[in-house]
């Protein structure tokens, strides 16, 4: 039977050495969250904020320092969609496919962007400039269809305006 489910393989980058400065920063993060509820998730959030993504080596460091099995850290990382084990582009384009945005043409926007950037959802351009993702509701439904590029939220987006929007992100 035809497989209708899209499975996204968790890709991993080639082995990356983490320099000692970053290692220190990670340790500091772990210390700061000691005793806080949900520390593993908080640490991952801060580590990703620091490095931009979570390579395996970083998970290993965190696992070791927090005395949590690597498999568990990996399980948490792969569960939450905010965590990424591959580097993101300089600008992360998140196209909202929430109900309101969908009803107002969101699918056409992501299709146009896929064509324009030559990417599948979850991919990053070869020059590292753009990553493309779909998200399920940024919460600005009154302005749908919406897309976010890093912290900027673009509202009432029309496919014909996409080229212009992208060109302002160098």
């Amino acid at each position: 039977m035809k497989q209708a489910v899209e499975t996204k393989p968790i890709k991993e980058e080639a082995s990356k050495a983490i320099d000692s400065k970053t290692q220190q920063q990670i340790k500091k993060i772990i210390e700061a969250t000691e005793g806080q509820a949900g520390a593993p998730i908080r640490v991952l959030q801060k580590a990703q904020g620091l490095i931009g993504y979570l390579p395996r080596e970083v998970l290993e460091i965190i696992a070791r320092e927090m005395r949590i099995p690597l498999s568990e850290m990996y399980g948490i990382t792969s569960f939450y969609s905010f965590f990424s084990m591959v580097p993101k582009g300089k600008y992360v384009i998140q196209v909202c496919l929430g109900t309101s945005c969908y009803v107002k043409g969101g699918q056409k926007i992501i299709d146009t962007l896929k064509k324009e950037l030559g990417l599948e959802s979850g991919g990053t351009t070869a020059d590292g400039r753009f990553s493309l993702q779909t998200v399920r509701c940024i919460g600005c439904c009154g302005l749908s269809p919406v897309l976010a590029i890093n912290e900027d939220i673009h509202r009432r987006v029309k496919p014909s305006r996409l080229k212009d929007i992208l060109s302002s992100y160098r």
Binding site: I41, L44, I76, F79, Y102, I153
Partner: protein
């Protein structure tokens, strides 16, 4: 800032703040609303502009302040100006460049800029009941503004004047139910936790608002964060043994996290969080836990496990979190809005809270009204407000003249509520009874361009992606359901698939561990319940009525056309200057293009994608152009009949249904005889539609073409007995006698001289009879017949023509262009009025007594039912009254064996095969469906012809229509150029000016020239070619 050590100190602080504020309020306050949407629309720039200008102009009597979002989502940036004496003005759609004018005109000269201000009567302002959202005009980053408005007074009252049990009792008396979706009574939940064993308990706030289409929690977090802090502190006190609370906020809401975080820090600073709050010994602190992008973490147990730092997998309950929750301790998890309601209930009392709402659903609810609606926004209404009021009165209805289809409520756990239920009160019970859930309150309005099967698929894609994977029914069941839905939207579905889908849905819903899986089937179940025919259209007819599921069609225009006309094809041929070929292509599917190109209601244009750029292509007018061209150049198309067949077929009625059935059958070689009772052929085309819309000599030219194909049309030949046709050797009969009997209104005076039925009137005029109308004519009704009648009456010499319609203007079923043309001609349309009596003198009409109507609740057609306003009767003089209030078939000529007729007079026939209960007899067009449109009648004729052919060949009567004998016609595959995609409005369709046209029956709509036709045709986007990619 010194910590407040007692309630007295709090109250002293309130006085101090109020002194400061009253000074501030003596000035003009400019409040810039800075929610996420406002900021993304440029509100920060507007703020900066105001600050800059006010400072540089040294306007010391003006103060610029920050405020939260007030829910006018699609009108951002919004600014409220509060003048100490003149009051409040709300400006919307502001931008940096508009600021100087606001300052100069309003702030300096004191004159409001009317064109940018929100009308105080705007339904978005007037029809809301603001309670939860009552602090949105304050600066959420300033705790003192909250304190000045009774902030933390409820906490003080609870801590010093109430016992914990009293607090819970008050919440119970108020009737507060969980606002996150399930609506569980809050006091009950708190009582469970209070009674649970243990001395370490938790209060948690569910801010993981993941439902797409819902963002009211975000607005409260960003706009009224202290209400949550205070609410949770009160809850902690009421439950007892709670020293720590958590607010789980989804990561997609960075501003909300920042705002709440700031609020918490300020509360700590002021001693309203932490140890010994207000000197009472009560200790409570609050921390934020940011989510990491998992919808399932909105589920109670998953959320709590996530706070513990683990994967957000839900678990079985019991044990309930009330006994074993966060860190295995008794916990209450409540929604943002639930917490936000708590302080006001304690401060203002349970009676205040429960003064609005229904018996079981008290209080207000914030709702996100989004989607295909004029006024999108965050609205707060009492529970129990009807859906129709929210969508139409507050929301302003559906834009672009589209038809309302359904409201999707409750996110992926919810369901759709269609048009028949617009009176449904939005409360927990009523919505559940319809198979949906109220959920968190996201209302996504959908119109005729949304496919319900696609909507179900959309939600299943969502729940499949967000499933945590722990339990099999959800993890494996949802993708299987999605697979079935995908097959259906790809045109590969079967009726067995539908049965399997339903079975799976029941299973997944009942066997999943958590709310995500349990409610994931809801979109499927509700769409199946309310829109089953849409699923069946995809499966049986391979048609997507909303024209969304791309695998089922090439171009939307062609797909929505009842006869499937190759619109992109003939438009492309016109563009290429090949007019005759365009006509020939049209004739492959439509034998009456001269007429249809003049009178069709053009559903194709309603789906034309060019409209997303500016206007739809003038498809109907281009069709007329091609047909006119062919006939004017003597190029009429008569197909070759391959092989003559011996079977004889009788068709009763020479209207569009009968004529197209005759055409198709004659093409196949059958012997076709059409029996027409009237002295002319054409049905409503001849005797309904007036001459100035469709000249009869034009109609007759194409009827001649039908006759040239060999069809025997016998005029003045009514059929009194269908049975006798079989005796005369006809092997099959197609009954297509239309709906020509006008409905009477049933009011006194109808039999006076001067009262006509519209259908009779139009027919007599069209047949050239001598019909006299008076000077002042009243036409009753709002459909196409009413408009036709009115415009004909004018041309017959009436000085004044008035249309009386009992509903609102937007409810009139007539084609918009016709209504506009009528008004241009000076016809007056009076809405919300209905005649109750026709008065006469000496047996002749001399007046009509009317009563004013008031629209109230919605009926099943989605229009408001009009009620007479007693005592508002008034009389108007008229000398002619024409009733155009409905028409129905007259089937008295039918003998009843095997053929049933409904109460409305329509013949019962299978909707797809058109077979009646009697073998060999088929029925289609208005006689089957009731009064409908020309193109639908033509499609019915073709369907009947196909069924008759199959019947005569001994084949099974299957639902899909197959028409044989096409001449293959090449169509150019030229995509539009870059230039042709630039904005360019539709070429105006010319009409004889109103003053000139009302004195004659000359055709009013003027044709395109060849140059114009090519130009208009060049706007076509060739969706059919794109689909091939």
């Amino acid at each position: 800032m010194k910590r407040l050590a007692s309630v007295e100190e709090l109250n002293k602080l309130v006085d101090q703040i109020n002194k400061k504020l009253s000074q501030r309020e003596k000035k003009t306050q400019v409040k810039v609303h800075l929610g996420t949407c406002g900021i993304s629309s440029g509100a920060n720039k507007v703020l900066a502009a105001f600050q800059r200008e006010i400072e540089s102009r040294k306007l010391t009597e003006v103060v610029v302040l920050k405020a939260a979002c007030i829910g006018l989502c699609d009108r951002e940036p919004v600014v409220t100006i509060v003048h100490p004496i003149k009051g409040k003005t709300i400006y919307y759609d502001l931008s940096e460049d508009k600021v100087p004018k606001v300052i100069e005109q309003h702030l300096i000269k004191g004159k409001i800029v009317d064109e940018w201000k929100l009308n105080p009567d705007d339904p978005l302002l007037k029809l809301q009941e603001i309670r939860v959202m009552h602090n949105q005009d304050l600066d959420p980053m300033n705790i003192e503004e909250y304190i000045a408005r009774d902030g933390y007074q409820a906490l003080a009252k609870a801590l010093t004047q109430m016992k914990p049990e009293d607090v819970i009792a008050e919440i119970g008396k108020a009737g507060l139910r969980g606002r996150g979706g399930a609506g569980f009574p809050t006091a009950t939940k708190w009582t469970f936790v209070r009674n649970a064993q243990g001395d370490e308990k938790y209060v948690v706030c569910n801010g993981d608002e993941g439902d797409p289409g819902a963002y009211m929690n975000r607005a409260v977090l960003e706009g009224n964060p202290h209400s949550i802090v205070e609410g949770m502190a009160i809850g902690a006190y009421a439950i007892g043994n709670v020293r720590q609370g958590y607010a789980y906020i989804r990561a997609e809401y960075p501003l909300a996290i920042e705002t709440l975080s700031h609020a918490i820090n300020q509360a700590r600073e002021y001693g309203l969080l932490g140890k010994n709050i207000l000197g009472t010994g009560f200790e409570f602190d609050l921390d934020i836990f940011p989510g990491a992008g998992a919808f399932v973490c909105g589920e109670e147990t998953a959320l709590l496990i996530s706070i513990e730092g683990k994967r957000g997998n839900p678990r079985q309950r019991p044990p309930f979190p009330a006994n074993k929750g966060l860190f295995d301790k008794p916990t209450t998890l409540n929604n943002v809005e639930t917490w936000s309601n708590v302080p006001q209930i304690i401060w203002k009392g349970a009676e205040w809270f429960s003064s609005v709402g229904t018996t079981t659903s008290k209080g207000t609810k914030t709702l996100c009204l989004v989607g295909k609606v004029h006024n999108t926004g965050l609205v707060e209404v009492p529970l129990g407000t009807s859906l129709g009021k929210i969508v139409f009165d507050i929301g302003g209805g559906i834009p672009n003249g589209k038809k309302y289809k359904a409201v999707q409520i409750g996110g992926p756990s919810g369901g759709v509520i269609p048009i028949e239920y617009l009176n449904t009160p939005v409360d927990y019970e009523a919505v559940t009874a319809l198979g949906a859930i109220m959920g968190s309150g996201g209302l996504v309005v959908m119109d005729e361009d949304s496919c319900m099967v696609d909507v179900a698929k959309f939600f299943l894609q969502f729940t499949r992606d967000e499933s945590c994977g722990k339990c099999t029914p959800c993890r494996a069941g949802i993708p299987k359901m999605l697979e079935l839905l995908t097959r259906i939207t790809n045109g590969e579905g079967t009726m067995e698939d539908l049965a399997t889908l339903e079975e799976l849905a029941e299973m997944v819903g009942s066997a999943s561990i958590c709310g995500l899986g349990q409610t994931a089937p809801n979109p499927v179940l509700t769409t199946l319940r309310h829109f089953r025919e849409e699923y069946e259209a995809h499966i049986i007819d391979k048609k997507c009525p909303a024209v969304v599921c791309q695998p089922l069609f090439r171009a939307p225009c062609q797909h929505t056309c009842p006869v499937g006309l190759d619109v992109p094809g003939y438009v492309a041929l016109i563009k290429a200057g090949n007019f005759e070929k365009a006509y020939r292509l049209i004739m492959q599917r439509l034998p009456l293009p001269l007429s249809v190109g003049r009178v069709c209601h053009h559903p194709c244009e309603g789906k034309c994608r060019r409209a997303q750029i500016e206007d739809p292509i003038a498809i109907k007018h281009l069709k007329r152009f091609a047909a006119d061209y062919a006939f004017n150049h003597g190029l009429e198309y008569i197909p070759q009949i391959k092989e003559k067949r011996k079977e004889k077929i009788a068709i009763i009625g020479a209207g569009p249904a009968g004529l197209s059935a005759a055409w198709d059958l004659a093409r196949e070689g059958f012997q076709v005889t059409v029996f027409e009772a009237l002295p002319v052929a054409g049905g409503m085309l001849a005797v309904g539609i007036p001459e100035y819309r469709l000249p009869k000599n034009v109609l007759n030219r194409e009827i001649e073409t039908v006759k040239k194909l060999g069809v025997d049309i016998r005029l003045n030949s009514p059929v009194n007995d269908v049975e006798s046709l079989l005796k005369d050797g006809y092997q099959a009969v197609f009954i297509a006698t239309g709906a020509h009997k006008g409905d009477k209104m049933g009011i006194p005076g109808e039999d006076l001289n001067g009262v006509f039925d519209a259908i009779d009137f139009l027919r007599e005029v069209n047949l050239g009879k001598d019909i006299k109308v008076g000077q002042k004519v009243a036409v009753v009704g709002g459909g196409n017949s009413a408009i036709d009648t009115a415009r004909v009456a004018l041309r017959k010499g009436a000085k004044e023509v008035h249309i009386l319609y009992r509903r609102e203007k937007r409810d009139m079923p007539a084609i918009v262009e016709e209504i506009e043309a009528a008004e241009e001609e000076g016809i007056l349309i009076h809405c919300l009025t209905a005649p109750v009596k026709i008065m006469g003198k000496n047996g002749k009409v001399d007046g009509v007594e009317c009563v004013r109507m008031e629209p109230r609740e919605f009926d099943k057609s989605g229009r408001k039912t009009p009620y007479q306003i007693k005592g508002s009767e008034y009389t108007v003089n008229f000398d002619t009254v024409i009733e155009a209030t409905g028409q129905r078939p007259d089937t008295t000529y039918l003998s009843r064996d095997g053929i049933s007729v409904t109460k409305r007079g329509t013949i019962v026939a299978d909707p797809r095969t058109l077979a009646t209960g009697r073998k060999g007899d088929f029925a289609g067009g208005d006689v089957h469906t009731g009064a409908a449109t020309v193109i639908e009648a033509i499609a019915a004729g073709q369907r009947a012809a196909c069924s008759i052919r199959r019947y005569l060949q001994g084949e099974e009567l299957t639902p899909l229509v197959e028409r044989n004998g096409y001449e293959p016609i090449d169509v150019p595959s030229v995509m539009p150029t870059e230039d042709q995609l630039k904005e360019k409005h539709r070429l105006k369709i010319g009409e004889i000016p109103a003053a000139d046209r009302i004195t004659s029956f000359e055709e009013t709509v003027l044709p395109y020239s060849a140059k114009e036709a090519i130009e208009e045709a060049s706007r076509c986007l060739r969706c059919d070619l794109e689909a091939g990619e």
